[in-house]
Symmetry: D2
Subunit: 305 residues, 4 copies
């Protein structure tokens, strides 16, 4: 077994110069205010090992990483029916593009672009009694951290600046692929994006995807083995926006990123790894975080390929 702790510490030192590069998201004040020096990383293995370095227990805005959890809820509720309303192909476009949506009549390319996540949110709203509570319960349960919560200020700011997402929601609705009121869908979406978690939370919270859909320490099933595999496949092909090919090429494992600077990766049957660094590269993924994960798979020799 690799010496995970040593590797994480090495990586932390190596990526330090990169923390000065890239650009912290500044479209809302809460994100803009996060110091670019922050860096945390955590690994949780299936056999219960926990390794961490840097600011690994500090919470940050998970943003798009939440799309994995709402997808989980939607698959729990309606299974493969979901794919009638959202595709499974990489988009080849920016995460918030409307072009493809128009050419393809309101059917979003995949559940991880914003358009797809809005449709998934609509499904969650339709199939869950108290969608926010159930989402939170799922995340707390998977992470083993009952203190995880949303940041209402983030959600409010998102909404106040959410013209592009409002455009997407209205556009999808014009094709008949949203059922709920635009504002309800957007509010739930901004809620999920505003959830705050740490690297340790995220690594723990994604471990069920490395474990055939079952939470390793509680032993209960979150998803079927097939569903877990398929979310991994989706993360690999679509999890890092239009840099998914590059991420697969350089990092070589399924991963999901968020504009708050977090990225979570899954190595099936082994571990989950989460990293956080606020400054983003041109594609909207954490710059130092991407580099850290590339080093992690290089140093450990772990890869799905």
């Amino acid at each position: 077994m690799p010496d995970y702790q040593a590797i994480l510490d090495e990586i932390r030192d190596e990526v330090r110069p990169l923390l000065l590069q890239g650009r912290v998201a500044d479209y809302i004040p809460r994100l803009a205010g996060v110091p670019r020096e922050k860096f945390g990383m955590a690994v949780v293995t299936l056999d219960g090992g926990l390794y961490q370095t840097g600011d690994a227990v500090e919470s940050f805005s998970i943003q798009s990483i939440s799309k994995v959890y709402t997808l989980t809820l939607a698959l729990q509720s309606i299974g493969d029916e979901l794919w009638q309303r959202v595709g499974r192909e990489p988009s080849g476009n920016a995460f918030n593009s409307l072009v493809q949506l128009e050419l393809e009549n309101g059917l979003p390319r995949n559940p991880f672009i914003n358009a797809g996540a809005l449709v998934v949110a609509d499904v969650v709203l339709a199939t869950r009694k108290d969608p926010r509570a159930q989402l939170l319960a799922t995340i707390r349960g998977c992470s083993g951290n009952p203190d995880i919560r949303d940041d209402p200020e983030v959600a409010l700011s998102e909404k106040a600046n959410g013209f592009r997402n409002a455009a997407l929601a209205n556009f999808i609705r014009s094709f008949g692929n949203l059922e709920h009121a635009i504002d309800d869908v957007l509010d739930f979406y901004f809620y999920q994006c505003s959830l705050a978690m740490s690297c340790v939370d995220l690594a723990r919270g994604f471990l069920f995807l490395a474990n055939q859909g079952r939470c390793p320490w509680r032993g209960d099933r979150v998803l079927s083995p097939d569903q877990a595999k398929r979310i991994n496949a989706l993360m690999l092909t679509c999890g890092t926006y239009d840099a998914a090919g590059d991420f697969a090429y350089h990092v070589g494992i399924p991963g999901k990123s968020g504009v708050g600077g977090g990225i979570v990766g899954v190595i099936p049957n082994q571990l989950a790894v989460a990293v956080w660094s606020p400054a983003l590269n041109a594609k909207g993924n954490s710059l130092a975080g991407s580099a850290a994960l590339e080093r992690f798979t290089a140093k450990t020799g772990l890869s799905i390929f």
Copy 2:
């Protein structure tokens, strides 16, 4: 001088079979309820002649034809400054497409596609004290009909079904090219679309564009000669959505159509002509109306080319 009355009556008889073709707009109940048998046509000449046939004094929803009037108000207020915020090129796409808007960073191609009309509406809201009253006063003044009014039921229905326009407005706003609240812009836009006029109103009401910007019977200036010419140029290149080339080719005069089935044409220094027939062709222009205008220019020998 052609015998306009005889020509209009001939056309009415000739296009009758076409009234059964095409498709009446049905996205809102008020439009869907208009009988497809309706057909009216009116010509008003600069020297005061008025000729009409069929249902020429029956009011209908002018819809996009209203964009010529809001453009008039915007040019009166800020002149060529307007072109900082909206282009003057044909779009080559459907009237409510978002694709081009994305590729061109929120600058609508021209003031007659919906995106452009929303920006024009935003300008009118910014520069007029009581935008609705001033728009109505302008239209009533140009048409010489103080009874022209809006149809609030139409505006309400438009709003209830206006997801595509809401998408456009949010999208433009995300690029910073709208200043007012989305709902204010949309409400004004739906108001202008809900105005009801007859063929006689429209022919009279567009005559200033055939008269170098001056209302021929009141003698007052609505626009400068240059501005009037330029609106005519815009109508020729962009007035009938992505059928503008075909319209120029077959009809050969500047024209503006609406989804309510109206089309108005202008022959500079001579006359304005309006036609109404509710059923639309595949491009969203009145099917029998287009045919009637083509026959009108063929029979009269009038053309700008």
Copy 3:
């Protein structure tokens, strides 16, 4: 009647500073070698008046202006059948774009974008015994200048650099919308682009379009009145690439430009006007030439609108 001579001389003086702006086409040596100081302009009226200024009798490469003549030949041969193979709508894209062609299955938007001109060339090849001789005879006849000829060096250079046009031809062929061998179509196309004419030649040579399709001094018919009008409509909506809307707005008459720096305009029932200045604006039209034509219509008060 305006004092055309005085107006042309005024314009020549006024646009002189503009000759230093813009960029001379440099994709082939022959065009790159033309001095940017060149400026010529000529007006020919239906009643036989000829007015000229500057380098108005110097020949230059007419390039895309030739598309009007090949369109003329194609309409003479197969009339409206042509529109089965090429559209009549503005493209909303650059003149040599492949995007729209792909979305619309190989049917070019109009005969003035390169794709459309290649289809027109294919029609001319299919319907004429000696296509080059007949094209040349038509141009010489319309212009009254038996000395007009092609510049083989230009054609050779075009071919050597014609990868984009070869891409277009192969692409159209892949949709089945070209019948002749790619090289034959391209060779004819490069031949037509290599024809050299002066402003006086061009103004004379386009006069039949201002005269209902009939050459005013020879009296013979080149096209039917309807066909002439429709070519004018096409020039207005599509004659200056994706600046057609702007050209219609500012100049207000049908016109066709070429990358050699020439632009010809037609004022129906009055005159044809040609201008030449090698440096191009960002849209690929002669920068000083566009300004000169705008001044010409402003000073003379001539416009179709």
Copy 4:
């Protein structure tokens, strides 16, 4: 270890009804003539096991599967420099689309779309003395079959119908991203597509990708471990055209398909599997072949996720 032989035989029986569905490629006679009843499948494991069923030793046209070998040659020659000229992202469009190429200035999205394969071919032409001989030697070496050869009739037919590829090559050249003469690039490309191999050949011939880049029985290195992994990542994200997401989702392993009906899959550190069935689904991948691979991973429980 799963009973591979039993599983292959089961699959052969199960997919038999599917052989009647889909459409055999018919753009060239040689492909059109292949009976749709053909079905073969072969598995080769790292420890030397060989399992086969149906027409597993019958040769067919490998077509786009050859792109993996030319990519291998290019990476051997210039390594990561290749990525200056071709991307690594899924295209989100059909394999022979020109749209993205235009928007991205002639840089193909990845080496497996035709545009990318043409650039790779150009690299091979530039870096190899006898490109055809070296490609053939590599394939024969990896497959352990010295009788593998090209089918000149296929190459000739491809060329005669290769307008779309000629369009792509000319288009890329117009952006300066091809160095060799168009015809040389196309001839080499059609040559590689015309190579004929069996399922057994292909399974053996891809085994080095499951073995960290080393041929298991000869022991020699074809690529570095990193390069092998990265080709696997590329196959997963881009190997089956715009169905790559779906393939990853349902099959869950890296794979590369060809229009001849072949698909090869790689399970790192375990095996390579090849399947052949000529009729294609709407995305251009073997219909029964895709189903067979999905069953194979389901029945064996093998997956990278």
